[in-house]
């Protein structure tokens, strides 16, 4: 084996440990190896009990988000040689409860995601025979950036507001709500606004801006939330000035 790099990996076995500990492994340092490749090498060759989530290895599935040297990263898109000579600290995503080793509980995020209704809502569905809901490239462009979200939860691990207040809806859920609000085919904006205009929704965000910096898909959740705030404020003023017209 040629050059190696040390990975300091968080280990936690709920049946046995009171709290997580760290275990060090040496893995080959290859130019084309990512942190995920290093973890898979450990699992295949050194310690089959190491537990972590992964699937696609190409930044699509959003399963392999972990803390790498204290920063939330998609481990399949984070190359080991960037951290040479090491060591590289690999920990589970921050602010989430740890189930085992590098696996965190995602129940909270899934519930929040569902709460904001991230799907196209129509007041009345048109008949199948009438065809598709058409959209111009310009209309697509308006929300396309937000539709790139892969639900990797890296933005949650970067958001101190979520860490301090677990009730906060969080960056990805709000960005996805915005993705559907801005879709020309959608008619559910008012429905989502009533959910997200509460304190634990958009107003919980204090605009730290870290979610946008760490997003591996350049979704810009911080921007989505601020734009949402602007919309909510405009609606509120509209309701105040023209109570008869507000819905």
């Amino acid at each position: 084996m040629g050059e190696t790099i040390e990975l300091e990996v968080t280990r936690y076995t709920p049946e046995r440990d009171r709290e997580p500990s760290r275990q060090t492994y040496a893995v080959p340092l290859r130019k084309d190896w990512t942190v995920l490749d290093g973890l898979n090498h450990i699992k295949d060759r050194e310690d089959g009990s190491l537990t972590f989530r992964w699937s696609c290895r190409m930044g699509i599935c959003g399963s392999c988000g972990m803390m790498v040297n204290g920063e939330p990263k998609l481990t399949c898109a984070t190359f080991l040689f960037r951290y040479a000579p090491g060591p590289v600290r690999v920990e589970p995503l921050r602010y989430f409860p740890i189930i085992r080793d590098l696996v965190v509980a995602i129940n909270d995020f899934m519930a929040k995601l569902q709460a904001v209704k991230p799907w196209i809502i129509r007041e009345e569905e048109k008949a199948l025979a009438e065809g598709e809901y058409l959209q111009t490239p310009q209309q697509l462009e308006v929300y396309k950036q937000y539709s790139m979200c892969i639900n990797c939860m890296i933005c949650y691990a970067a958001c101190p507001v979520y860490g301090l207040d677990p009730l906060f809806a969080g960056p990805a859920a709000i960005a996805l709500a915005q993705r559907y609000n801005m879709d020309s085919r959608d008619q559910g904006a008012a429905e989502r606004l009533s959910i997200l205009s509460q304190h634990e929704g958009i107003w919980g965000c204090t605009f730290v801006g870290e979610c946008t910096k760490v997003c591996p898909k350049q979704v810009d959740p911080a921007g989505a939330i601020q734009q949402y705030k602007l919309t909510a404020a405009k609606k509120w003023i509209q309701g105040l000035l023209m109570p008869w017209g507000a819905k």
């Binding site: 709920p14 049946e15 409860p97 308006v142 860490g163």
Partner: protein
């Protein structure tokens, strides 16, 4: 804090870590955020000083001269300098964040961040010149 329940196959014992009270000290971006939040206090200090000045003006030349002497005392000079630093910090960070919240589209394409931030600075400059002209030259 309550002890986490023991592990059973149906109730796995999840490990939850607490966020440190000093979470904002670990990273420059977080510290900058907290400084920006604190800067609001100094923006308020500026407003209070302005209101006190107007109040002193209203009470006559004697009261105003006394107010000015009070402003020149070292603690007040220090407070003003500190407030000035924080207000400038607040303004600059505000303008650099503006492009995140403002999306302006021209013929379907989103204007670049620099244009949005630049136009905010330009508006600030124009308003400052108008106020300066009204106070000094007008």
């Amino acid at each position: 804090m309550k002890e986490a329940p023991a592990h059973t196959p149906y109730h796995p014992r999840w490990y939850r870590s607490r966020v440190s009270t000093y979470w904002w000290l670990g990273k420059w971006a977080h510290l900058k955020f907290i400084l920006r939040e604190i800067s609001s206090v100094f923006v308020a200090v500026f407003v209070v000083l302005l209101l006190l000045e107007i109040w002193a003006l209203e009470r006559g030349p004697g009261a105003y001269a006394e107010f000015q002497r009070w402003l020149e005392s070292p603690p007040l000079v220090a407070l003003s300098l500190l407030s000035f630093f924080f207000v400038v910090f607040h303004a600059i960070t505000w303008f650099s964040l503006a492009p995140r919240a403002m999306v302006v589209r021209l013929r379907g394409t989103r204007l670049p961040d620099a244009v949005i931030a630049g136009s905010n600075y330009l508006a600030w400059l124009i308003v400052s010149v108008i106020i300066g002209w009204a106070l000094l030259g007008g």
